[in-house]
Amino acid sequence: MSDINSGLMDRIQTISGNAFSTLVLDGAGPIAVEFMSYGCGYCRAIEPMLQEVAETLQSREQIFRINIEAEPELAASFEVQGTPTFIMFLNGREVGRVEGIHPTLSNVMAVVTAPFEARD
C-alpha cells in the first residue's frame, strides 16, 4: 500500500461545500482547489505528485480537494465539466483554471503556482 496515498499522510484537506466559503472564498492569499473524484483514474494518477507539491509549497499556498460526487452542487456552480479540474483563487477570486494535467511533478507544480506567479 502506498504511504503517500495513506489517509494519515494526506497533506491535502478535503473540504465540504460549507467549508468552501470560509476557507476559499473568504480565504486570504493563493489557494488551489482540485475538483476531483476518487473514481477518476486521472485524479488517481496525479495524487502522489499533488501530495509532493503540497508539501513543497506548505505555507506559501493552500491546496484543497473537493469530491464532486459528494458536492455536485458546488461543482455545478463553478461549471466544472469533468475531473480533475483545478481552480486557483487569490483572495477569494478565481484567477486560473486548468482541466486535466499530464501527471508529472513539474506539470502539477506549474498548474497550481503559475496563475499566482503571473501576478507577482
Binding site: 489517509g7 473514481g39 469533468g82
Partner: protein
Amino acid sequence: MPNQINPTLLFDGGCAVCGHLAHWVQASALSKSGGTTIVVRPVGNDPAELRTLNPDLDIWDAYAKIHLLMPDGSMKIGGEAIAEVLRRLPATKWFAWCFAVDVFGVRPFQLMLNLAYTVLDDVRPIFGCGSCGATSSWVRPIATLMKWAGSGFGKGHTPIPTPHFTAFPLRPSSARASGSKAD
C-alpha cells in the same frame, strides 16, 4: 459494517468491465439455499466509510486494484483476490484448488492468474471504463485502432478534447443548474 462471515469484494463502480464481472460474481455467489458466499459492493466515494470496513483500506488503492476484504480482517489484492473469489464460488471452486499448487516455492497457476489480471487491468480502459485513467503504453495502439474503427462506423466513441481529463457526460443545462449528480 464489515460482513463477519463472508468476504467482501470491492469493485470500481465506474468501470464497465469491473461492473460486469462483479455482477457475475454476485450472481454466481448465490447458493441453492439463497445465501451468498461473497458480498459484492462498489468502492464508492467516501474514504471514511471504507475505513469502517478495514482501517488499512485506502480508497485510492481500492480503485487501483481489486480488493477482497476477508472476515478475519485481512485483505487480498489483485490476482490473489480473484483466486480467493474463485475458491468460494460454487461453480468454480472445483478447479480453484490449482492456484494453491506450490512447486519449489512457486505457484505457477497463481502466477498465470496474476499475469492475466495485470493484462485485464491494463486493457479495461478500452472497454468503456470512465474511471481507469490513461491506458498503458502497450495498450495505446489498440485503443487508437478501436477509436478509429468506432469513428469509422460513426458510433460508440465520443472524442475527449482534453487529455488526462474525465469529462462528464453531456447533460441539459437545467440539470446542471439544479446540481444533479454526475453519473
